[in-house]
Symmetry: C2
Subunit: 204 residues, 2 copies
């Protein structure tokens, strides 16, 4: 135990030597905490503690909490793109492709925390709700993104998005046993035909 005195040891101030990937450590911790606790629930102090860093550093790098949140969810912009990609290709497999892509996004440890942070925060924070609205509305459900989709198809695509959103909320946020206990394949088999019907328009 050498000596070390009190357990409240003062850490040295000033810049660290070498390249400390502190900024990324903050982003990682923030991503995880926002995913688990939502925007309001995850405090700057808790994020800093998880990153092993002083809270003031967060302010130094990101300015304020909203910017930090935006930084953690931004850049994973590949998420809407992957879904858009799944919309193109063999129409016979459309439902399976979209559902599979979506469910895998919610299982991928890279993208899952971001989605969870967005959804969990969107119900409480207006800012996060606006972000999710923007992602869903402007980057997915618009005619610029989906050329050739008429209004009717976009409307049914929006209903698909709601369906899949509900599945994710039940499975990963509320953790409803009847849904979260299902293996992905079983969920796929149930949901994919519905998505297929919504998207290909034989819906009556």
């Amino acid at each position: 135990m050498t000596e070390s005195g009190q357990n409240t040891r003062k850490r040295p101030t000033g810049r660290r030597t070498g390249d400390s990937g502190t900024r990324d450590a903050i982003l990682d911790a923030a991503r995880d905490l926002f995913a688990d606790l939502g925007f309001d629930g995850a405090s700057i102090r808790a994020i800093a503690a998880a990153a092993g860093v002083d809270p003031a550093l967060i302010r130094h790098f990101f300015g304020d909490k909203e910017t930090l949140f935006a930084s953690t969810v931004a850049d994973r912009t590949a998420i809407p793109q992957r879904l858009v990609d799944a919309l193109t290709g063999d129409p016979a497999q459309l439902g399976r492709r979209v559902t599979d892509t979506y469910l895998k996004l919610w299982e991928d440890p890279e993208t899952q925390p971001v989605l969870q942070a967005l959804v969990r925060s969107a119900t409480t924070s207006d800012r996060a709700a606006a972000m999710l609205r923007e992602v869903l509305g402007a980057r997915l459900l618009s005619q610029e993104i989906l050329p050739g989709f008429d209004e009717d198809r976009i409307r049914r695509l929006a209903i698909c998005a709601s369906h899949l959103l509900g599945i994710a909320v039940a499975r990963y946020i509320i953790k409803l046993p009847a849904i979260s206990a299902l293996p992905r394949d079983a969920l796929m088999d149930e949901v994919a035909p519905t998505i297929q019907r919504y998207l290909t328009g034989q819906h009556q």
Copy 2:
């Protein structure tokens, strides 16, 4: 001017004469604030202010915040029952009946705030998530409540619940324009056939 002095007039302490429906006023204010801001977002002080009452009264009547929340969402137990009722009757109209009942629950000014409070809080507060799980799981998706439903039908009913939950989240929480702009009839026409298919089992 007699005296009366400052505009910060102290309100008289002690019991009011007559029957002041204060407890109900608190419950009403709590219902609305929980619906708008969620469990964490709605502070005891804000609820008290909305009810025109001292914060300590809430503690006096309900003890702590969780009990207050539980009291506001309890008693509206009619909600799961109405859905269960919709499940019985002419099987040909099943999808329409369930969807109609559900969408009306989300428009009824009596039940809407409760649903909104539950959903909005469930993503942040573990306690609220447990409540929603209990309502959905034990009071709706169990074989005691739905005699004669085998496991496969209950599983597909859970997927229905997720679909409808997603619709409500998109429409009333995130306020996704593509969904919230739709009139109820249009939404019905799109969604009811899907619910019908899930529930009657011709799902492949």
